[in-house]
Protein backbone atom coordinates (compact mmCIF):
# COMPACT_ATOMS: atom_id res chain seq x y z
CA UNK A 1 0.00 0.00 0.00
CA UNK A 2 1.31 3.44 -0.89
CA UNK A 3 1.42 5.79 2.04
CA UNK A 4 0.71 9.46 1.81
CA UNK A 5 4.31 10.18 2.58
CA UNK A 6 5.43 8.28 -0.52
CA UNK A 7 2.74 9.93 -2.60
CA UNK A 8 3.97 13.29 -1.50
CA UNK A 9 7.58 12.56 -2.31
CA UNK A 10 6.67 11.28 -5.77
CA UNK A 11 4.42 14.14 -6.61
CA UNK A 12 6.50 15.93 -9.22
CA UNK A 13 4.75 14.60 -12.30
CA UNK A 14 4.91 16.60 -15.54
CA UNK A 15 1.93 18.67 -16.65
CA UNK A 16 -0.18 16.83 -19.21
CA UNK A 17 -0.43 17.97 -22.82
CA UNK A 18 -3.97 19.29 -22.71
CA UNK A 19 -5.31 22.14 -24.77
CA UNK A 20 -4.52 24.52 -21.93
CA UNK A 21 -1.34 22.74 -21.01
CA UNK A 22 0.63 25.89 -21.47
CA UNK A 23 -1.06 27.44 -18.46
CA UNK A 24 0.18 24.76 -16.12
CA UNK A 25 3.62 26.29 -15.93
CA UNK A 26 2.06 29.18 -14.04
CA UNK A 27 0.53 26.97 -11.38
CA UNK A 28 2.02 26.45 -7.99
CA UNK A 29 3.29 22.87 -7.86
CA UNK A 30 1.62 22.55 -4.47
CA UNK A 31 -1.76 23.04 -6.10
CA UNK A 32 -1.00 21.41 -9.44
CA UNK A 33 0.04 18.18 -7.79
CA UNK A 34 -3.12 17.72 -5.82
CA UNK A 35 -4.97 14.78 -7.32
CA UNK A 36 -8.63 15.18 -8.20
CA UNK A 37 -10.70 13.61 -5.43
CA UNK A 38 -12.02 10.10 -6.08
CA UNK A 39 -15.40 11.33 -4.97
CA UNK A 40 -15.51 13.75 -7.88
CA UNK A 41 -15.05 10.95 -10.40
CA UNK A 42 -17.83 9.00 -8.78
CA UNK A 43 -20.03 12.09 -8.72
CA UNK A 44 -19.81 12.37 -12.51
CA UNK A 45 -20.73 8.72 -12.87
CA UNK A 46 -23.76 9.08 -10.59
CA UNK A 47 -24.94 12.28 -12.25
CA UNK A 48 -25.17 10.42 -15.56
CA UNK A 49 -27.33 7.65 -14.05
CA UNK A 50 -31.12 7.48 -13.85
CA UNK A 51 -33.67 6.11 -11.37
CA UNK A 52 -31.17 5.62 -8.64
CA UNK A 53 -31.45 5.99 -4.89
CA UNK A 54 -28.46 7.80 -3.51
CA UNK A 55 -26.84 6.98 -0.19
CA UNK A 56 -23.94 9.15 -1.26
CA UNK A 57 -25.02 12.45 0.20
CA UNK A 58 -22.90 13.90 2.97
CA UNK A 59 -25.48 16.36 4.24
CA UNK A 60 -28.74 16.27 6.21
CA UNK A 61 -31.97 15.58 4.34
CA UNK A 62 -33.75 18.13 6.50
CA UNK A 63 -34.15 21.64 5.18
CA UNK A 64 -32.97 24.26 7.70
CA UNK A 65 -35.72 24.66 10.34
CA UNK A 66 -38.21 27.34 9.37
CA UNK A 67 -37.62 29.59 12.38
CA UNK A 68 -33.95 29.85 11.42
CA UNK A 69 -34.73 30.74 7.82
CA UNK A 70 -37.39 33.20 8.96
CA UNK A 71 -34.95 34.92 11.34
CA UNK A 72 -32.56 35.43 8.44
CA UNK A 73 -35.26 36.85 6.17
CA UNK A 74 -36.40 39.19 8.92
CA UNK A 75 -32.86 40.38 9.54
CA UNK A 76 -32.46 41.21 5.85
CA UNK A 77 -35.65 43.23 5.99
CA UNK A 78 -34.23 45.17 8.90
CA UNK A 79 -31.06 45.87 6.99
CA UNK A 80 -28.54 43.45 8.44
CA UNK A 81 -26.40 43.57 5.32
CA UNK A 82 -23.04 44.84 6.49
CA UNK A 83 -19.67 43.47 7.63
CA UNK A 84 -19.58 42.16 11.15
CA UNK A 85 -16.57 42.18 13.42
CA UNK A 86 -13.83 39.97 11.91
CA UNK A 87 -14.21 37.28 14.51
CA UNK A 88 -17.99 37.25 14.14
CA UNK A 89 -20.91 38.97 15.85
CA UNK A 90 -20.21 39.17 19.62
CA UNK A 91 -23.70 37.79 20.41
CA UNK A 92 -23.02 34.77 18.25
CA UNK A 93 -19.60 34.13 19.79
CA UNK A 94 -21.20 34.32 23.21
CA UNK A 95 -23.93 31.91 22.16
CA UNK A 96 -21.34 29.47 20.77
CA UNK A 97 -19.33 29.72 23.96
CA UNK A 98 -22.25 28.97 26.26
CA UNK A 99 -23.58 26.25 23.95
CA UNK A 100 -20.23 24.43 23.99
CA UNK A 101 -19.95 24.78 27.73
CA UNK A 102 -23.48 23.51 28.29
CA UNK A 103 -23.33 20.65 25.81
CA UNK A 104 -19.75 19.38 25.99
CA UNK A 105 -18.18 21.01 29.02
CA UNK A 106 -15.57 22.96 27.06
CA UNK A 107 -15.32 26.60 28.16
CA UNK A 108 -14.04 29.30 25.80
CA UNK A 109 -13.82 33.05 26.24
CA UNK A 110 -16.08 34.52 23.53
CA UNK A 111 -13.83 37.57 23.31
CA UNK A 112 -10.56 35.89 22.50
CA UNK A 113 -11.06 32.19 22.02
CA UNK A 114 -13.89 31.93 19.49
CA UNK A 115 -13.70 32.66 15.76
CA UNK A 116 -16.71 32.41 13.44
CA UNK A 117 -15.72 31.02 10.04
CA UNK A 118 -17.13 30.23 6.62
CA UNK A 119 -18.03 26.64 7.43
CA UNK A 120 -15.91 24.25 9.44
CA UNK A 121 -13.83 23.91 6.26
CA UNK A 122 -12.44 27.43 6.54
CA UNK A 123 -11.60 26.82 10.18
CA UNK A 124 -9.57 23.74 9.24
CA UNK A 125 -7.81 25.66 6.49
CA UNK A 126 -7.01 28.55 8.84
CA UNK A 127 -5.74 26.25 11.54
CA UNK A 128 -3.45 24.36 9.18
CA UNK A 129 -2.15 27.51 7.56
CA UNK A 130 -1.50 29.08 10.93
CA UNK A 131 0.43 26.04 12.15
CA UNK A 132 2.29 24.43 9.27
CA UNK A 133 5.85 25.20 8.29
CA UNK A 134 7.06 23.52 5.08
CA UNK A 135 7.90 19.91 5.77
CA UNK A 136 5.90 19.59 8.98
CA UNK A 137 4.10 16.31 9.20
CA UNK A 138 0.37 16.30 9.82
CA UNK A 139 -1.07 13.07 11.20
CA UNK A 140 -4.49 12.09 9.93
CA UNK A 141 -6.34 8.97 11.10
CA UNK A 142 -7.92 7.41 8.04
CA UNK A 143 -10.37 6.64 6.49
CA UNK A 144 -11.36 10.28 6.91
CA UNK A 145 -13.02 13.27 5.34
CA UNK A 146 -11.29 13.99 2.06
CA UNK A 147 -10.02 17.53 2.52
CA UNK A 148 -7.48 17.29 5.35
CA UNK A 149 -4.63 15.93 3.24
CA UNK A 150 -5.01 18.34 0.29
CA UNK A 151 -5.25 21.38 2.58
CA UNK A 152 -2.15 20.17 4.41
CA UNK A 153 -0.27 19.78 1.13
CA UNK A 154 -1.29 23.23 -0.10
CA UNK A 155 0.18 24.64 3.09
CA UNK A 156 3.46 22.84 2.40
CA UNK A 157 2.87 20.22 5.07
CA UNK A 158 3.14 16.48 4.63
CA UNK A 159 -0.02 14.51 5.41
CA UNK A 160 0.66 11.18 7.10
CA UNK A 161 -2.27 8.77 7.17
CA UNK A 162 -2.77 6.56 10.21
CA UNK A 163 -4.77 3.51 9.23
CA UNK A 164 -7.68 2.56 11.48
CA UNK A 165 -9.56 -0.73 11.34
CA UNK A 166 -13.07 -2.14 11.47
CA UNK A 167 -11.99 -4.56 14.22
CA UNK A 168 -11.41 -1.48 16.43
CA UNK A 169 -14.66 0.12 15.23
CA UNK A 170 -12.31 2.50 13.37
CA UNK A 171 -11.19 4.14 16.60
CA UNK A 172 -7.73 5.67 16.74
CA UNK A 173 -5.42 3.74 19.06
CA UNK A 174 -2.49 5.19 20.99
CA UNK A 175 -0.19 2.51 19.51
CA UNK A 176 -1.03 3.43 15.93
CA UNK A 177 -0.55 7.10 16.71
CA UNK A 178 2.77 6.47 18.48
CA UNK A 179 4.02 4.36 15.56
CA UNK A 180 3.35 7.14 13.06
CA UNK A 181 5.25 9.82 14.91
CA UNK A 182 8.59 11.12 13.61
CA UNK A 183 10.67 14.13 14.69
CA UNK A 184 8.77 16.11 12.04
CA UNK A 185 5.31 15.32 13.43
CA UNK A 186 3.54 18.47 14.48
CA UNK A 187 -0.21 18.38 14.02
CA UNK A 188 -2.80 15.68 14.62
CA UNK A 189 -6.18 16.08 12.92
CA UNK A 190 -9.04 14.27 14.61
CA UNK A 191 -12.55 13.87 13.22
CA UNK A 192 -14.85 12.04 15.62
CA UNK A 193 -17.67 11.23 15.15
CA UNK A 194 -16.15 10.23 11.87
CA UNK A 195 -17.11 10.83 8.31
CA UNK A 196 -17.05 8.21 6.68
CA UNK A 197 -16.89 5.45 9.31
CA UNK A 198 -19.35 6.71 11.92
CA UNK A 199 -16.72 5.92 14.55
CA UNK A 200 -16.78 7.79 17.86
CA UNK A 201 -14.29 8.18 20.69
CA UNK A 202 -15.29 8.19 24.37
CA UNK A 203 -13.68 10.20 27.15
CA UNK A 204 -11.82 7.01 28.19
CA UNK A 205 -10.63 6.44 24.62
CA UNK A 206 -9.09 9.92 24.63
CA UNK A 207 -6.92 9.46 27.71
CA UNK A 208 -4.13 7.35 26.12
CA UNK A 209 -4.28 9.48 22.95
CA UNK A 210 -3.86 12.63 25.05
CA UNK A 211 -0.78 11.11 26.69
CA UNK A 212 0.88 10.51 23.31
CA UNK A 213 -0.04 14.01 22.18
CA UNK A 214 1.52 15.48 25.29
CA UNK A 215 4.60 13.29 25.13
CA UNK A 216 5.38 14.37 21.57
CA UNK A 217 4.26 17.95 22.00
CA UNK A 218 1.69 17.72 19.20
CA UNK A 219 -0.99 20.24 18.48
CA UNK A 220 -4.45 18.93 17.63
CA UNK A 221 -7.12 20.12 15.24
CA UNK A 222 -10.29 18.39 16.38
CA UNK A 223 -13.04 18.55 13.78
CA UNK A 224 -16.17 17.88 15.82
CA UNK A 225 -18.72 18.89 13.22
CA UNK A 226 -20.73 15.70 13.89
CA UNK A 227 -20.57 16.08 17.70
CA UNK A 228 -24.34 16.31 18.12
CA UNK A 229 -24.90 13.20 16.05
CA UNK A 230 -23.67 10.72 18.67
CA UNK A 231 -25.87 7.73 19.45
CA UNK A 232 -23.80 5.64 21.83
CA UNK A 233 -24.28 5.10 25.56
CA UNK A 234 -22.22 8.16 26.46
CA UNK A 235 -22.54 11.65 25.07
CA UNK A 236 -20.01 13.03 22.62
CA UNK A 237 -16.62 13.53 24.28
CA UNK A 238 -14.75 16.54 22.96
CA UNK A 239 -11.01 16.03 22.65
CA UNK A 240 -10.58 19.54 24.03
CA UNK A 241 -12.16 18.31 27.26
CA UNK A 242 -9.60 15.51 27.69
CA UNK A 243 -7.17 16.14 30.58
CA UNK A 244 -4.62 18.82 29.70
CA UNK A 245 -5.74 19.06 26.09
CA UNK A 246 -7.65 22.35 25.96
CA UNK A 247 -4.65 24.53 25.13
CA UNK A 248 -3.29 21.96 22.67
CA UNK A 249 -6.53 21.70 20.74
CA UNK A 250 -8.14 23.85 18.10
CA UNK A 251 -11.75 22.77 18.27
CA UNK A 252 -13.54 23.06 14.93
CA UNK A 253 -17.28 22.75 14.54
CA UNK A 254 -20.22 24.38 12.83
CA UNK A 255 -23.90 24.42 12.10
CA UNK A 256 -24.08 22.30 8.95
CA UNK A 257 -24.82 18.86 10.34
CA UNK A 258 -26.59 19.32 13.67
CA UNK A 259 -28.78 22.21 12.53
CA UNK A 260 -29.18 21.19 8.88
CA UNK A 261 -27.46 24.36 7.65
CA UNK A 262 -24.90 23.10 5.12
CA UNK A 263 -25.53 25.77 2.49
CA UNK A 264 -25.17 28.62 4.97
CA UNK A 265 -21.46 27.83 5.44
CA UNK A 266 -21.34 28.63 9.13
CA UNK A 267 -18.58 27.21 11.25
CA UNK A 268 -16.29 28.18 14.07
CA UNK A 269 -12.97 27.50 15.69
CA UNK A 270 -12.17 27.69 19.40
CA UNK A 271 -8.83 27.50 21.08
CA UNK A 272 -5.95 29.23 22.80
CA UNK A 273 -6.11 33.04 22.26
CA UNK A 274 -2.71 33.11 20.54
CA UNK A 275 -3.77 30.44 18.06
CA UNK A 276 -7.16 32.00 17.42
CA UNK A 277 -5.59 35.41 16.91
CA UNK A 278 -3.14 33.92 14.35
CA UNK A 279 -6.06 32.31 12.52
CA UNK A 280 -7.99 35.58 12.73
CA UNK A 281 -5.13 37.30 10.92
CA UNK A 282 -5.56 35.03 7.90
CA UNK A 283 -9.34 35.16 8.15
CA UNK A 284 -9.51 38.95 8.13
CA UNK A 285 -7.26 39.26 5.07
CA UNK A 286 -8.99 36.51 3.11
CA UNK A 287 -12.72 36.63 3.86
CA UNK A 288 -13.00 39.61 6.26
CA UNK A 289 -15.86 38.00 8.15
CA UNK A 290 -18.40 35.21 7.76
CA UNK A 291 -21.59 36.32 5.94
CA UNK A 292 -23.85 38.30 8.26
CA UNK A 293 -27.03 36.50 7.21
CA UNK A 294 -25.51 33.19 8.13
CA UNK A 295 -24.42 34.56 11.47
CA UNK A 296 -27.91 35.82 12.27
CA UNK A 297 -29.34 32.42 11.33
CA UNK A 298 -26.74 30.59 13.40
CA UNK A 299 -27.57 32.74 16.41
CA UNK A 300 -31.25 31.87 16.01
CA UNK A 301 -30.38 28.16 15.73
CA UNK A 302 -28.46 28.25 19.00
CA UNK A 303 -31.03 30.43 20.77
CA UNK A 304 -34.25 28.66 19.77
CA UNK A 305 -33.26 25.60 17.77
CA UNK A 306 -31.94 23.06 20.25
CA UNK A 307 -35.31 21.29 20.55
CA UNK A 308 -35.68 20.85 16.83
CA UNK A 309 -32.07 19.67 16.64
CA UNK A 310 -32.80 16.93 19.18
CA UNK A 311 -35.71 15.75 17.05
CA UNK A 312 -33.50 15.52 13.99
CA UNK A 313 -30.87 13.58 15.94
CA UNK A 314 -33.52 11.10 17.12
CA UNK A 315 -34.68 10.68 13.56
CA UNK A 316 -31.14 9.91 12.34
CA UNK A 317 -30.69 7.39 15.12
CA UNK A 318 -33.84 5.50 14.06
CA UNK A 319 -32.68 5.42 10.46
CA UNK A 320 -29.20 4.37 11.58
CA UNK A 321 -30.62 1.23 13.17
CA UNK A 322 -32.66 0.54 10.07
CA UNK A 323 -29.65 0.81 7.75
CA UNK A 324 -27.22 -1.17 9.90
CA UNK A 325 -29.80 -3.95 10.20
CA UNK A 326 -30.59 -3.70 6.49
CA UNK A 327 -26.94 -3.97 5.47
CA UNK A 328 -26.38 -6.95 7.75
CA UNK A 329 -29.53 -8.60 6.39
CA UNK A 330 -28.13 -7.96 2.92
CA UNK A 331 -25.16 -10.13 3.83
CA UNK A 332 -22.58 -7.42 4.51
CA UNK A 333 -20.54 -7.15 7.67
CA UNK A 334 -21.19 -3.81 9.32
CA UNK A 335 -19.63 -2.51 12.51
CA UNK A 336 -21.86 -0.42 14.78
CA UNK A 337 -21.45 3.21 13.66
CA UNK A 338 -22.13 5.32 16.74
CA UNK A 339 -22.00 8.77 15.21
CA UNK A 340 -22.53 11.03 12.18
CA UNK A 341 -25.01 9.72 9.59
CA UNK A 342 -22.95 7.07 7.86
CA UNK A 343 -22.75 3.31 7.96
CA UNK A 344 -19.50 1.87 6.62
CA UNK A 345 -20.09 -1.78 5.79
CA UNK A 346 -17.38 -4.12 4.59
CA UNK A 347 -17.93 -5.42 1.07
CA UNK A 348 -14.96 -7.79 1.24
CA UNK A 349 -17.19 -10.87 1.36
CA UNK A 350 -18.23 -10.13 -2.23
CA UNK A 351 -14.66 -10.36 -3.48
CA UNK A 352 -14.96 -7.02 -5.25
CA UNK A 353 -12.90 -3.88 -4.69
CA UNK A 354 -14.70 -0.85 -3.31
CA UNK A 355 -14.59 0.92 -6.63
CA UNK A 356 -15.93 -2.01 -8.67
CA UNK A 357 -18.57 -2.75 -6.05
CA UNK A 358 -19.77 0.86 -6.04
CA UNK A 359 -19.76 1.07 -9.83
CA UNK A 360 -21.66 -2.18 -10.25
CA UNK A 361 -24.09 -1.37 -7.44
CA UNK A 362 -24.83 1.86 -9.28
CA UNK A 363 -25.23 0.25 -12.70
CA UNK A 364 -26.95 -2.99 -11.70
CA UNK A 365 -28.52 -2.24 -8.34
CA UNK A 366 -29.42 1.41 -8.97
CA UNK A 367 -28.04 2.54 -5.64
CA UNK A 368 -25.28 5.14 -5.28
CA UNK A 369 -22.87 4.96 -2.35
CA UNK A 370 -19.31 6.16 -2.06
CA UNK A 371 -16.47 3.62 -2.39
CA UNK A 372 -14.44 3.54 0.82
CA UNK A 373 -11.04 3.85 -0.84
CA UNK A 374 -11.59 7.55 -1.61
CA UNK A 375 -11.34 8.21 2.14
CA UNK A 376 -7.73 7.08 2.39
CA UNK A 377 -5.92 4.26 4.16
CA UNK A 378 -8.12 1.47 5.46
CA UNK A 379 -11.07 2.51 3.29
CA UNK A 380 -10.53 -0.14 0.63
CA UNK A 381 -13.03 -2.96 1.05
CA UNK A 382 -15.70 -0.67 2.50
CA UNK A 383 -18.60 1.44 1.28
CA UNK A 384 -19.92 4.68 2.76
CA UNK A 385 -23.72 4.65 3.04
CA UNK A 386 -25.35 7.84 4.23
CA UNK A 387 -28.68 7.34 5.99
CA UNK A 388 -29.70 10.99 5.73
CA UNK A 389 -32.50 9.93 3.39
CA UNK A 390 -36.18 9.08 3.88
CA UNK A 391 -37.18 5.80 5.51
CA UNK A 392 -39.01 4.74 2.36
CA UNK A 393 -35.92 5.32 0.22
CA UNK A 394 -33.69 3.57 2.72
CA UNK A 395 -35.96 0.52 2.76
CA UNK A 396 -35.93 0.35 -1.01
CA UNK A 397 -32.15 0.85 -1.11
CA UNK A 398 -31.60 -1.96 1.39
CA UNK A 399 -33.72 -4.30 -0.76
CA UNK A 400 -31.73 -3.39 -3.83
CA UNK A 401 -28.39 -3.84 -2.07
CA UNK A 402 -29.56 -7.21 -0.75
CA UNK A 403 -30.46 -8.42 -4.24
CA UNK A 404 -27.22 -7.11 -5.68
CA UNK A 405 -25.02 -8.71 -3.02
CA UNK A 406 -26.88 -12.01 -3.45
CA UNK A 407 -26.26 -11.88 -7.20
CA UNK A 408 -22.56 -11.05 -6.83
CA UNK A 409 -21.97 -13.76 -4.24
CA UNK A 410 -23.70 -16.35 -6.45
CA UNK A 411 -21.45 -15.36 -9.36
CA UNK A 412 -18.40 -15.89 -7.18
CA UNK A 413 -19.58 -19.26 -5.83
Amino acid sequence: MITNRELNENSTQQPSDSEHGSMERYLSPLVRDIKPSGIRKFFDLVSASKDIITLGVGEPDFVTPWHVREACVYSLERGYTRYTSNAGMPELREAISSYLKGSFGTAYDPEKEVLVTVGGSEAIDLALRALIRPGDEVLVPEPCYISYSPITSIGGGVPIGIETFAKDNFKLTAEALENSITPKSKVLILCYPSNPTGATMTAEDWIPIAKVVEKHDLIVISDEIYAELSYGQSKHASFAAAPGMKDRTILVSGFSKAFAMTGWRMGYACGHPELISAMLKIHQYTVMCAPVMGQVAALEALTNGLGEKDKMVESYNRRRRLVVQGLRDAGLECHEPEGAFYAFPSIQSTGLTSEIFAQRLLAEGKVAAVPGDVFGLGGEGFLRCSYATSVAQLNEAMDRIGQFVYKVKREGA
Binding site: F43, S47, T54, V57, E59, N195, R318, Q325, A368, V370
Partner: protein, 166 residues
Protein backbone atom coordinates in the same frame (compact mmCIF):
# COMPACT_ATOMS: atom_id res chain seq x y z
CA UNK B 1 -44.32 2.09 33.46
CA UNK B 2 -42.59 5.28 32.34
CA UNK B 3 -40.52 3.25 29.86
CA UNK B 4 -43.73 1.91 28.29
CA UNK B 5 -45.07 5.41 27.85
CA UNK B 6 -41.90 6.51 26.06
CA UNK B 7 -42.17 3.49 23.76
CA UNK B 8 -45.80 4.27 23.01
CA UNK B 9 -45.02 7.89 22.28
CA UNK B 10 -42.22 6.84 19.93
CA UNK B 11 -44.52 4.40 18.17
CA UNK B 12 -47.22 7.04 17.79
CA UNK B 13 -44.71 9.48 16.34
CA UNK B 14 -43.52 6.98 13.75
CA UNK B 15 -47.05 5.87 12.83
CA UNK B 16 -48.27 9.43 12.53
CA UNK B 17 -45.54 9.96 9.95
CA UNK B 18 -46.60 6.85 8.05
CA UNK B 19 -49.34 4.52 9.28
CA UNK B 20 -48.22 1.72 6.98
CA UNK B 21 -45.02 1.06 8.91
CA UNK B 22 -44.93 -2.55 10.05
CA UNK B 23 -44.16 -3.71 13.60
CA UNK B 24 -40.95 -5.21 12.18
CA UNK B 25 -39.81 -1.84 10.85
CA UNK B 26 -40.80 -0.04 14.08
CA UNK B 27 -38.92 -2.67 16.06
CA UNK B 28 -35.72 -2.04 14.08
CA UNK B 29 -36.03 1.74 14.16
CA UNK B 30 -36.65 1.84 17.90
CA UNK B 31 -34.34 -1.05 18.82
CA UNK B 32 -37.13 -2.78 20.76
CA UNK B 33 -38.16 -6.44 20.30
CA UNK B 34 -40.94 -6.87 17.78
CA UNK B 35 -43.27 -8.59 20.28
CA UNK B 36 -43.05 -5.59 22.60
CA UNK B 37 -43.88 -3.25 19.74
CA UNK B 38 -46.83 -5.41 18.74
CA UNK B 39 -48.14 -5.52 22.29
CA UNK B 40 -47.82 -1.74 22.64
CA UNK B 41 -49.64 -1.14 19.34
CA UNK B 42 -52.40 -3.51 20.41
CA UNK B 43 -52.83 -1.66 23.70
CA UNK B 44 -52.90 1.66 21.91
CA UNK B 45 -55.62 0.33 19.64
CA UNK B 46 -57.64 -1.19 22.48
CA UNK B 47 -57.46 2.01 24.51
CA UNK B 48 -58.53 3.89 21.40
CA UNK B 49 -55.40 6.01 21.57
CA UNK B 50 -54.91 4.93 17.99
CA UNK B 51 -58.44 5.51 16.74
CA UNK B 52 -58.00 4.70 13.09
CA UNK B 53 -55.34 4.38 10.39
CA UNK B 54 -56.66 6.89 7.89
CA UNK B 55 -55.35 8.45 4.70
CA UNK B 56 -54.87 12.16 4.22
CA UNK B 57 -56.37 12.97 0.83
CA UNK B 58 -55.90 16.14 -1.15
CA UNK B 59 -59.59 16.37 -2.08
CA UNK B 60 -59.09 19.13 -4.59
CA UNK B 61 -57.27 16.63 -6.81
CA UNK B 62 -60.16 14.16 -6.61
CA UNK B 63 -63.20 16.37 -7.05
CA UNK B 64 -62.99 20.04 -7.92
CA UNK B 65 -66.60 20.76 -6.99
CA UNK B 66 -66.44 19.33 -3.51
CA UNK B 67 -66.55 21.96 -0.79
CA UNK B 68 -65.69 22.05 2.87
CA UNK B 69 -67.06 24.61 5.31
CA UNK B 70 -66.10 25.53 8.84
CA UNK B 71 -69.19 26.59 10.75
CA UNK B 72 -69.04 28.54 13.99
CA UNK B 73 -72.03 27.56 16.10
CA UNK B 74 -73.28 29.33 19.20
CA UNK B 75 -75.50 27.21 21.40
CA UNK B 76 -77.29 27.26 24.72
CA UNK B 77 -75.96 24.43 26.87
CA UNK B 78 -78.52 21.95 28.16
CA UNK B 79 -79.14 21.66 31.85
CA UNK B 80 -77.19 18.70 33.27
CA UNK B 81 -75.57 17.72 29.94
CA UNK B 82 -73.79 20.89 28.91
CA UNK B 83 -72.76 20.72 25.27
CA UNK B 84 -72.58 16.93 24.94
CA UNK B 85 -76.10 16.23 23.73
CA UNK B 86 -76.15 18.95 21.13
CA UNK B 87 -72.67 18.11 19.94
CA UNK B 88 -73.82 14.54 19.39
CA UNK B 89 -76.93 15.63 17.51
CA UNK B 90 -74.59 17.48 15.20
CA UNK B 91 -71.74 14.99 14.81
CA UNK B 92 -74.09 12.10 13.98
CA UNK B 93 -74.68 13.60 10.54
CA UNK B 94 -72.37 11.79 8.11
CA UNK B 95 -71.57 15.00 6.24
CA UNK B 96 -70.10 16.44 9.45
CA UNK B 97 -66.38 15.66 9.38
CA UNK B 98 -65.34 17.08 12.68
CA UNK B 99 -66.80 18.89 15.70
CA UNK B 100 -64.72 20.77 18.27
CA UNK B 101 -65.85 22.47 21.48
CA UNK B 102 -64.13 25.85 21.49
CA UNK B 103 -63.24 28.59 23.94
CA UNK B 104 -63.95 32.15 22.83
CA UNK B 105 -66.69 33.81 20.81
CA UNK B 106 -68.57 30.67 19.80
CA UNK B 107 -69.06 27.18 21.20
CA UNK B 108 -68.74 24.54 18.51
CA UNK B 109 -66.64 24.52 15.39
CA UNK B 110 -68.21 22.16 12.86
CA UNK B 111 -66.46 20.98 9.69
CA UNK B 112 -68.89 19.98 6.98
CA UNK B 113 -68.23 18.33 3.62
CA UNK B 114 -70.59 18.77 0.69
CA UNK B 115 -70.71 18.04 -3.00
CA UNK B 116 -71.62 21.68 -3.67
CA UNK B 117 -72.07 25.03 -1.96
CA UNK B 118 -75.81 24.49 -2.17
CA UNK B 119 -75.65 21.17 -0.39
CA UNK B 120 -73.72 22.67 2.52
CA UNK B 121 -76.01 25.71 2.62
CA UNK B 122 -79.09 23.51 2.85
CA UNK B 123 -77.50 21.41 5.58
CA UNK B 124 -77.02 24.57 7.60
CA UNK B 125 -80.48 25.94 6.99
CA UNK B 126 -82.42 22.65 7.15
CA UNK B 127 -80.53 20.66 9.77
CA UNK B 128 -78.16 22.74 11.85
CA UNK B 129 -79.90 26.06 12.46
CA UNK B 130 -83.29 24.54 13.35
CA UNK B 131 -81.82 22.63 16.30
CA UNK B 132 -83.45 24.24 19.29
CA UNK B 133 -80.41 25.19 21.29
CA UNK B 134 -78.53 26.59 18.31
CA UNK B 135 -78.51 30.36 18.67
CA UNK B 136 -76.53 31.31 15.59
CA UNK B 137 -74.25 29.96 12.87
CA UNK B 138 -71.53 31.52 10.76
CA UNK B 139 -70.45 29.52 7.73
CA UNK B 140 -66.96 29.89 6.24
CA UNK B 141 -66.16 28.01 3.05
CA UNK B 142 -62.60 26.73 2.68
CA UNK B 143 -61.14 27.96 -0.60
CA UNK B 144 -57.86 26.08 -0.53
CA UNK B 145 -56.04 23.75 1.82
CA UNK B 146 -52.34 24.41 2.11
CA UNK B 147 -51.54 22.14 4.99
CA UNK B 148 -53.47 19.57 6.97
CA UNK B 149 -52.45 17.29 9.85
CA UNK B 150 -48.92 18.65 9.52
CA UNK B 151 -48.74 17.70 5.87
CA UNK B 152 -48.05 20.36 3.26
CA UNK B 153 -50.12 19.60 0.15
CA UNK B 154 -47.97 21.29 -2.44
CA UNK B 155 -44.41 20.92 -1.24
CA UNK B 156 -41.97 23.21 -3.01
CA UNK B 157 -38.96 22.13 -1.00
CA UNK B 158 -38.01 19.03 -2.93
CA UNK B 159 -34.61 17.46 -2.32
CA UNK B 160 -32.11 19.72 -4.03
CA UNK B 161 -29.01 18.08 -2.65
CA UNK B 162 -26.17 16.94 -4.86
CA UNK B 163 -26.35 13.20 -5.51
CA UNK B 164 -22.88 12.68 -4.05
CA UNK B 165 -21.07 14.94 -1.62
CA UNK B 166 -18.07 14.41 0.64
Amino acid sequence: MKETNKLKLDILELLEEDARRTPELLSTMLDIPEEEVQAAVQELEQDRVIVKYATVVNESKVNDEKVTALIEVQITPERGRGFEGIAERIYRYPQVKSVFLMSGAYDLLVEVDGLSLKEVASFVSDKLSPIESVLSTKTHFILKKYKQNGIIFEEHEEDRRLMISP
